[in-house]
């Protein structure tokens, strides 16, 4: 029995290490390829470059048209940061209403909110596009943060409701006795206890908006406003001979913020997924 256990444990390690290596290898390869010449990228399967050169980064950052890659990075932050902030504020408030108060049609509205989680984006985009066009929101980042300002993202509301439910109601009651109104109770008593949930929410919204390709493709049409997802797509679309080392270097740069976010907030990633089962 013991021996069998040890063999199966050894097998577990072997599988985890081999597959883990396969999982991470493409990312390592991406990283080291950014220092290779265009020629070397295709002629060799070696991971490490013969000589570390920086021309991929230097030329890639300069960009080909009138904008540098840094400009597109800045655009992406301009799109992502407001979206993350309004999501946090709006969802915290709306979820508070659902978690702590009774009001007419509450259960109906809550069910409605949950079911929007399963509403495919596909069926909404055309009227949304036309609506945003009429409101002159196209080619701006409003289509990204305005829906979040009105807490449209059902899963974040749901995440917060679940978290609020875990906080004892006695805290609210004692705050009321101290003369706090419900809003002050939320700000001063409840929110400080919700840091993990708020972090999870912010991190996922950051990730999803940063990676979003479909919505920018629809709502953003001038290169001046392109986020990195569209800028990268443009760089491989422009002509037949793709300057791969430039493209790879910029691809790598555009995932660096995500990797930094991941390593600095790993705990919240895993917690957020585990408590609500959000997609990654």
């Amino acid at each position: 029995m013991k021996k069998q256990n040890r063999i199966s444990l050894a097998l577990t390690y072997i599988i985890l290490i081999i597959v883990g290596f396969i999982m991470i290898y493409p990312l390592l390869w991406l990283f080291f390829s950014t220092f290779k010449t265009n020629n070397e990228i295709f002629s060799s399967t070696r991971l490490l470059p013969e000589k570390f050169i920086l021309s991929g980064y230097i030329d890639g950052w300069k960009g080909s048209g009138q904008f540098t890659f840094g400009y597109f990075m800045l655009n992406t932050f301009k799109m992502v940061i407001p979206t993350v902030l309004v999501t946090i504020i709006s969802s915290s408030i709306v979820a508070y209403g659902f978690a702590r108060f009774d009001f007419p049609f509450k259960n109906f509205l809550f069910t409605l909110m949950i079911s929007t989680m399963m509403l495919p984006n596909a069926v909404l985009i055309i009227p949304r596009y036309l609506l945003f066009k009429n409101l002159s929101w196209l080619d701006s980042y409003k289509p990204f943060y305005m829906p979040q300002l009105f807490a449209f993202a059902g899963f974040f509301n749901f995440l917060m409701v679940q978290f609020y439910r875990g906080i004892p109601r006695e805290l609210d009651e004692s705050a009321y006795i101290d003369g706090y109104g419900s809003f002050r109770t939320l700000i001063h008593i409840i929110i400080p206890l919700c840091k993990p949930a708020i972090f999870s929410m912010g991190i996922f919204q950051f990730l999803w908006t940063w990676n979003d390709f479909f919505n920018p493709l629809i709502y953003i049409n001038s290169v001046k406003k392109y986020p990195v997802s569209l800028a990268l797509r443009m760089s491989i679309d422009s002509d037949a001979s793709v300057p791969w080392n430039k493209v790879l270097a910029m691809s790598f740069i555009s995932i660096v913020p995500l990797v930094i976010l991941f390593f600095s907030a790993q705990k919240y990633f895993v917690e957020g997924v585990a408590t609500t089962g959000l997609k990654g």
């Binding site: 009001f103 609506l131 009105f150 807490a151 390709f213 995932i255 895993v270 408590t275 990654g280």
Partner: protein, 305 residues
């Protein structure tokens, strides 16, 4: 006395509607960004609306055209079904398998979790799609490695037989988020159950099918629903890696929808396409929900969810 009574009543009324006040942003958001677009696209689907003319009611014309004359429609639908059938089971099996390995008492657990989880946060980005295109292209890294073993290069992206599968691999590679959901589910299985099974002489295969699998079904159910909904709408990889080709073998439904709406500006027809997709997703989800009674096992009897 009366004034006091009304005051009290007002207070109660105030309390009653206070919650409504907090959720009111969502109600507005739901009406403007959810309900209105949903019904507007249903209405457009019965019109010949394009960017150049006002919507005119044409009855079922769009749907009739779709089902009887649009060749792309059937091709894309089939491609999308294939894609869902490739990616969802592979991803979930990989996720469950590695969740089980990581649930054992092993060292470096955090390192392993990091390595397996990291791809899932990057997988949806354009960057990784570019990397994929680059890895699997004719003279890319994968074929370079294959060549070393004396095998002929495989046209992963250049042949219609392999392209869709290669794209599915990208999604399978990012199984980490589903894995974490499974891991959370596995952690809730009491160790006594395994001990009891072992005392009864159950083999590890038996343990898996009689203890682990039934108790992990709530997580499996959740993952299955979410992954299915997402897979039907997959877009980024198909656009960036192969751009629908070769010979439309990766021309997924969302690409067709995008082209009709924003390439040909046939908003009415594209709305009809979007509703067909919506109904398909709904049917698939309902199928999973309906069948869940017979295979999803809740430890608390199932009333809590």
């Amino acid at each position: 006395m009366t004034s006091r009574g009304t005051k009290h009543k007002n207070f109660k009324l105030h309390k009653k509607y206070e919650g409504l006040l907090y959720v009111s942003p969502w109600i507005i958001g739901f009406l403007v960004f959810g309900a209105y677009p949903l019904f507007a696209s249903l209405y457009y689907s019965f019109t010949n609306f394009s960017m150049f003319n006002k919507p005119k009611f044409v009855g079922l014309d769009n749907y009739i055209y779709m089902f009887t004359q649009d060749r792309d429609f059937y091709q894309s639908l089939l491609t999308t079904f294939k894609y869902v059938l490739y990616s969802v089971p592979m991803k979930l099996i990989a996720a469950l398998f590695f969740a089980m390995l990581l649930n054992r008492k092993i060292k470096f657990i955090n390192l392993f979790t990091t390595v397996y989880y990291l791809p899932s946060i990057l997988g949806a980005s354009v960057s990784i799609s570019i990397l994929w295109r680059f890895l699997f292209t004719k003279d890319g890294l994968i074929n370079g490695i294959i060549k070393k073993f004396g095998i002929n290069p495989i046209p992963f992206l250049e042949h219609p037989k392999y392209a869709l599968f290669t794209i599915s691999l990208l999604v399978v590679w990012s199984f980490g988020s589903s894995m974490v959901v499974f891991l959370a589910g596995l952690k809730q299985i009491p160790a006594e159950l395994y001990e009891a099974a072992r005392v009864d002489g159950a083999s590890s295969a038996r343990c898996f099918f009689s203890v682990t699998l039934p108790l992990i079904t709530p997580s499996l159910f959740f993952n299955l629903v979410m992954q299915t909904i997402n897979s039907f709408q997959y877009f980024t990889g198909a656009v960036v890696i192969t751009n629908g080709g070769p010979v439309k073998s990766t021309y997924l439904y969302m690409m067709m929808l995008y082209d009709e709406a924003f390439g040909n500006y046939k908003m009415g027809y594209a709305s009809a396409l979007s509703w067909v997709l919506f109904v398909l997703i709904l049917l698939a989800t309902m199928l999973i929900f309906r069948s869940s009674d017979s295979w999803v096992h809740y430890q608390d009897g199932g009333n809590a969810r």
